[in-house]
């Protein structure tokens, strides 16, 4: 899903929890796949929260609430902690999310999102709190994320924040490029490094 990222405007799915770990995003039993089948992972996103222990749908979980939708997931702090499994980013992308807004991200998961063209947007706790309040009041509330200017805006309240992103990753996301192309173009540098450190 190497979809170029520019500007998105969307309703949101709220998950106002801290420390959401990658074992919840995609439980280990779904990691046995040998292909990058994003639909399979997306179908099982938050599987154990979406279902009751008897397998029936957990109607209280936000993904099962038809009044919420859109391609932006709004979480709490320390999103994606724990396992390095990129399957978590594949599940988020496979479900149809294009951005995750949180007040902080776990490092490995953040890289995994970027490498799958899902934009991790780090905002202040205050902005996040207001956004969750906005969404709770109006499930159809929209957020606008502009990657070129690195701004995120709560369109209901007009609150706007600048977010940080590595300039190289920004370029990759906006142009649909991945790191391997970049690295392969530096083969000569790698060989020179090896000679110098032999």
């Amino acid at each position: 899903m190497k979809q170029k990222f520019d500007i998105i405007e969307s309703t949101c799915v709220p998950l106002p929890l801290d420390n959401v770990d990658t074992d919840q995003i995609i439980p280990a039993r779904f990691l046995k796949a040998t292909t990058r089948d994003e639909k399979f992972f997306g179908d099982n996103l938050f599987c154990d929260w979406r279902h009751n222990p008897d397998g029936s749908l957990n109607k209280d979980f936000v993904l099962n609430d038809p009044s919420y939708g859109g391609c932006i997931l709004v979480a709490g702090k320390n999103f994606g902690s724990g396992s390095s499994r990129e399957h978590a980013a594949w599940a988020i992308a496979g479900y149809g999310f294009r951005a995750v807004i949180a007040s902080s991200f776990a490092d490995i998961h953040k890289n995994n999102e970027l490498n799958n063209f899902v934009l991790p947007v780090t905002v202040s706790e205050g902005f996040l709190k207001e956004l969750h309040a906005t969404i709770a009041k109006d499930h159809g509330a929209k957020v606008r994320i502009e990657l070129p200017s690195q701004t995120v805006t709560n369109l209901t309240t007009g609150s706007s924040e600048h977010f940080e992103i590595n300039q190289y990753k920004k370029f990759c996301l906006m142009n649909g490029l991945d790191d391997i192309d970049y690295l392969l173009s530096h083969k000569k540098d790698i060989e020179e490094y090896e000679k110098a450190h032999a």
């Binding site: 074992d23 039993r29 320390n78 396992s83 499994r85 300039q167």
Partner: protein
């Protein structure tokens, strides 16, 4: 600046663009069966080979059953994943330690044990517990599958340089307090995101006096503090541990390596972005009550009144309640956290002359065949068997329950592994993280017990 982290990181920079990524050279890539098939697929799709196949080592560990490893895996999906790794390793010319190979085991136990992980190296693997290898004085960190593919294709990775943190633990550890307790204590103090964005150097007298096994446990848990990785500067303990190991340098090469390794330390005036110091006297045997590794308490303490309600509900615990005396159903000794020889010695020290409590199911899973060999050489298997415990075959096992070793829903497990997330040891399983000593105390009494009362 002038930290050991800077020294190792900076000496591996191939290119660096202003405001861009650092292209970092990687000395060692480890591959297990779960996070690599899609990376190999990617290489095939691009029609490219591994750039430096001799620097890549592969072994299955997550799906491996802990009994009858000589027979084909019963689970067809897991079997396919293991077979895919073997096929890919062969096709791409990579070293492969398959099941039943005496070199096989959990990748983070095998790497240091074989002398594949050495001081000053950069080491990566598609697994967050790659931080374990930092114990030998390496910069080691977990990466995603796309990044695994990058390293396969170019032996390099693009990364932003993390900030550096030093965590000092000073003083002397009390009776019954193990490296696992030190790590759980640090997490309780700084939370599971306390070191996010940082690489941690562990220092102080407690760390200096710690065995390699203890340092491996401590560094293993760096990721649970949110850190990219954690390491201990190499010293005589490190060299003593590595000397003579299969892939460690030999003869004159060894002497040359050691003289370089001796230079690997932070300068006297080194400046860290953050530095924290803990007093060993404040640490008691720890146990977790909640659903992330930072939700731990000293074993004699009560569950905090401000504990997350969602976590307590999942665990079936109450704020203000005591941990001691709570009924236990399962005990798991093993994982890349506590599956090494010292962990088995500690467990056996409590089990000796006692017996497994009725109603306890115990899974004792060595981290590698080498660990199992050592267990037998020291006669620990006899002590454990007499106490009613069975030792299984090596693998990740119940740490994440990708094989058959699953804790049933609602059951309580005292586990020496690294994560107590909801469902980590099986859907609905309730995990309490602790040291091998505390796990052994629970195994022989059937309830959460302060191990100091049995020592």
């Amino acid at each position: 600046m002038n930290t050991l982290f800077d020294k190792i990181w900076d000496s591996h920079v191939v290119t660096k663009q202003s405001d861009g990524p650092t292209q970092l050279y990687i000395d060692r890539l480890y591959c297990h069966e779960v996070t690599t098939p899609q990376a190999f697929e990617g290489l095939k799709g691009r029609g490219i080979r591994c750039f430096r196949p001799e620097k890549i080592f592969c072994m299955p560990d997550h799906n491996t059953p802990t009994h009858d490893q000589d027979k084909p895996l019963a689970d067809p999906v897991g079997r396919k994943q293991v077979e895919t790794l073997e096929k890919n390793a062969k096709e791409f010319g990579l070293t492969y330690f398959g099941m039943m190979n005496p070199r096989n085991g959990i990748i983070h136990v095998v790497g240091p044990e074989r002398g594949l992980s050495l001081p000053g190296m950069t080491i990566v693997c598609g697994d967050s517990h790659t931080s374990t290898h930092g114990a030998v004085g390496a910069v080691a960190f977990g990466i995603g599958t796309s990044e695994v593919e990058m390293v396969m294709a170019s032996q390099c990775i693009l990364q932003q340089k993390p900030k550096s943190m030093r965590i000092n633990v000073e003083g002397t550890l009390g009776k019954g307090v193990t490296p696992k307790d030190v790590a759980l204590y640090i997490m309780q103090q700084i939370t599971t995101s306390g070191a996010t964005g940082y690489f941690v150097e562990y220092a102080g007298s407690v760390v200096r006096n710690m065995s390699m096994e203890g340092r491996l446990t401590l560094c293993n848990l760096s990721i649970e503090m949110g850190a990219r990785g954690g390491f201990v500067a190499p010293d005589e303990t490190t060299f003593e541990y590595l000397k003579g190991r299969e892939y460690a340098p030999k003869g004159a090469e060894w002497d040359k390596a050691v003289s370089y390794w001796r230079t690997l330390k932070s300068g006297d005036g080194a400046v860290f972005d953050r530095e924290i110091t803990f007093d060993a006297a404040d640490i008691e045997p720890m146990i977790t009550y909640g659903t992330n590794p930072g939700m731990g308490i000293g074993i004699t303490k009560t569950i905090p009144t401000d504990a997350t309600p969602k976590a307590l509900e999942y665990m079936g615990f109450h704020a203000g309640g005591k941990m001691i005396g709570k009924k236990v159903d399962y005990v798991f000794l093993g994982a890349c956290t506590n599956g090494r020889i010292e962990d088995f010695r500690v467990f056996a020290s409590i089990a000796a002359g006692r017996h497994k409590a009725d109603g306890i199911t115990a899974w004792l899973v060595p981290g590698s065949w080498e660990v199992l060999k050592q267990i037998k050489a020291e006669g620990l298997d006899k002590i454990l068997n007499e106490a009613g415990f069975e030792i299984r075959q090596p693998g990740c096992s119940a740490c994440l329950a990708m094989n058959d070793d699953k804790i049933p829903a609602g059951k309580y497990s005292v586990s020496t592994s690294n994560r107590n997330f909801e469902g980590r040891q099986g859907p609905g399983a309730r995990t309490m993280l602790a040291s091998p000593l505390t796990a052994a105390a629970a195994a022989v009494t059937g309830v959460i017990t302060d191990p100091r009362t049995l020592m």
